[in-house]
């Protein structure tokens, strides 16, 4: 955000945005802490990294392009099933699995993006919800391919780079998930700080006016939706590979709702929102679900109500508001 009164060319604005903030270095350095501090929780840490990547993919369409999706788990699930199924038939190399999963979910995302780009408001919510349930039902009934409600059997994931096996302690899993998350984060960061990213934000604010200044809304939405689907697919494939299990749970409505909650909790439309939200959500669930798993959703619900009522931009939005308030008072 440039200060009022100081003219800035779009070029300078974008360049200023791409610069790394010291807090960002601190954040990524902190992601290495689990190795030192919580070596027993590396599996959880890798789950968090995967969920954060999933939240990042939703942020791309929801936070930047303003597409409310209640069925994003469809892509996560397709990615997970793709990685699982190809490993069953001999393609066990994790990286190759990621590429294939990303390509397939990208294709599915591209195909559905033509539907997505046509709708708004309730119809859009319903279409995404319907697509999510449709994929869930498909996976449930295609028992011969997915194993249905029993889960996918016979997943055999090979060694990472032919050297590192996925161990019980989650060392490989966490390094792998974290590196993939970081690379995808860099890509998304670059994307959102490009003219394309600015155009997306314009579409979010007013999709009717953007075509008038030369940014075709529908085409942009199709592009970003395809990318988001591919990233969600990568996250799903990561989960399948690091846990060696794929069940119908990867396609549940609950998963779509959870990731939405995380993103909003952290702050949508800010790159780190989904990441922070995923960390808080997953750690809290790990800590509280042992006490009373049945009532976990009561607190999630309450949290959602409070965030909507009190913190419209999530935790990160609240913090940056606070920061700006303090700085404004000082000057």
């Amino acid at each position: 955000m440039s200060k009022p009164g100081t003219p800035m060319t779009p070029h300078d604005y974008l360049r200023a945005q791409t610069r790394w903030h010291p807090l960002e270095y601190a954040f990524w350095l902190a992601t290495l802490l689990p190795f030192l501090l919580f070596p027993n929780y590396l599996s959880l840490a890798s789950q968090i990294a995967i969920t954060a990547l999933f939240a990042l993919s939703l942020d791309l369409i929801l936070g930047y392009a303003g597409i409310v999706s209640l069925g994003h788990a469809a892509f996560f699930g397709i990615g997970a099933y793709t990685a699982g199924i190809i490993s069953k038939y001999g393609i066990g190399d994790p990286l190759l699995g990621l590429v294939i999963a990303a390509a397939l979910t990208g294709i599915v995302g591209f195909a559905t993006s033509f539907i997505i780009a046509r709708f708004k408001h309730l119809a859009l919510i319903m279409i995404t919800l319907g697509l999510g349930f449709l994929v869930h039902e498909l996976a449930n009934s295609a028992h011969w391919l997915t194993g249905g409600a029993d889960g996918l059997q016979g997943i055999r994931i090979g060694k990472l780079l032919g050297m590192f096996e996925f161990d019980l302690w989650g060392h490989t899993a966490y390094v792998y998930s974290l590196v993939v998350l970081f690379i995808m984060f860099l890509a998304v960061r670059r994307l959102t700080n490009s003219p394309f990213g600015l155009a997306l934000r314009g579409i979010r604010e007013n999709s009717v006016r953007m075509p008038a200044i030369g940014a075709p809304s529908a085409a942009h939405i199709r592009k970003v939706y395809t990318m988001s689907a591919a990233i969600a697919g990568i996250a799903g494939a990561l989960l399948a590979q690091t846990t060696s299990t794929v069940s119908l749970g990867v396609l549940d409505f609950q998963r779509s709702a959870d990731v939405l909650v995380m993103l909003v909790l952290g702050g949508a439309g800010m790159l780190y929102g989904g990441l922070i939200g995923a960390i808080i959500f997953m750690v809290a669930r790990d800590q509280f679900s042992g006490i009373n798993p049945q009532y976990w959703y009561f607190w999630i619900g309450l949290l959602l109500v409070l965030v909507v009522m009190l913190l419209p931009n999530g935790i990160l939005g609240g913090l940056s508001h606070l920061y700006r308030m303090i700085r404004g008072r000082r000057s």
Binding site: V68, L134, E137, N140, F298, G301
Partner: protein, 287 residues
């Protein structure tokens, strides 16, 4: 050979009536305020639990609990409307979705806390059980009762909307909220009344649904999907649209489960997506 077909059509119609009761309120309030209320089925669930409690704990007759289910859902909903919903009428879809899905989550956990996650049942009086035979086809008495209630509610709603002052205000507010305000209609009060009425009907639907589909805390999410399908297919703010969509969805769901059980609920989602692609505003929607 037509026996089973008519039986399936009848069961589907009765199921459709249930869906209509559950969804008509959401359709009208959505059409009026464009407020995406994903907690609608939580109010229906509340009605269901009121009936279960009154019948099983206090020994009320089933029929006498139905008005209470209506009233309880209507009262609670209007409290939420005044306290929370009102503040988000001009907010984005996302905020509305988040707030109301948060409320739905809370309602599910609360119901699980009070009543447990087991399936609840409320015994119906003996004259609503069993079935009668016409032309060699069995009709469930309870389903006939459902159809009668559904048609009666439709009739009352249509007459209210067409011939009363309140109905005119509602129609004006659905057609053009700003213009209605400009003409001196108190849209907020009208909306609150409509919201209470719609949630009350959902509560009634929830109470009537116990006999057909049972009641457990997941009701608020499972039937939400059906209700949203009915609303989006029927078109916002259209009672006729909701009625036809509810019957269509009810019949295709029952027929799908009867003739092609392996496809499951797949058919309904496909029908919805195709219908919305054909008419994004729903069958009878104006916007």
């Amino acid at each position: 050979m037509f026996g089973p077909i008519i039986g399936v059509l009848f069961d589907g119609f009765a199921y459709g009536m249930l869906l209509f009761l559950l969804s008509v309120g959401l359709s009208v309030t959505l059409g009026m305020m464009n407020f995406v209320n994903l907690a609608h089925c939580a109010f229906a669930m509340l009605g269901g639990y009121v009936t279960v409690t009154l019948v099983n704990r206090f020994g009320w007759p089933f029929l006498a609990t139905l008005p209470m289910a209506f009233l309880a859902a209507a009262l609670v909903s209007v409290v939420f409307e005044r306290l929370l919903y009102r503040k988000l009428y001009r907010a984005s879809d996302l905020d509305q979705v988040l707030l109301t899905i948060g409320l739905a989550f809370m309602s599910i956990a609360t119901a699980a806390y009070i009543f447990g996650t087991v399936h609840q049942a409320a015994p119906t009086p003996s004259f609503l059980r069993g079935s009668v035979q016409y032309f060699g086809i069995n009709f469930g008495v309870y389903r006939l009762f459902l159809v009668a209630v559904g048609l009666a509610v439709t009739l009352v709603l249509v007459l209210t909307l067409e011939y009363t002052r309140f109905g005119q205000q509602v129609r004006a507010a659905v057609d053009n909220q700003r213009m209605a305000r400009g003409l001196g209609i108190n849209v907020d009060a009208t909306f609150a009344a409509t919201f209470a009425l719609g949630s009350g009907l959902a509560g009634l639907g929830g109470a009537l649904a116990i006999e057909i589909v049972g009641l457990d805390p997941s009701f608020a999410l499972i039937y939400l999907v059906y209700v949203l399908i009915v609303v989006s297919v029927g078109g916002l703010g259209s009672i006729l649209g909701s009625f036809i969509a509810a019957v269509l969805i009810g019949i295709s769901d029952i027929a799908g489960k009867y003739y092609v059980p392996e496809v499951g609920a797949f058919l309904i989602y496909l029908v919805m997506i195709l219908l919305l692609m054909w008419r994004p505003a729903g069958l009878f929607g104006k916007r």
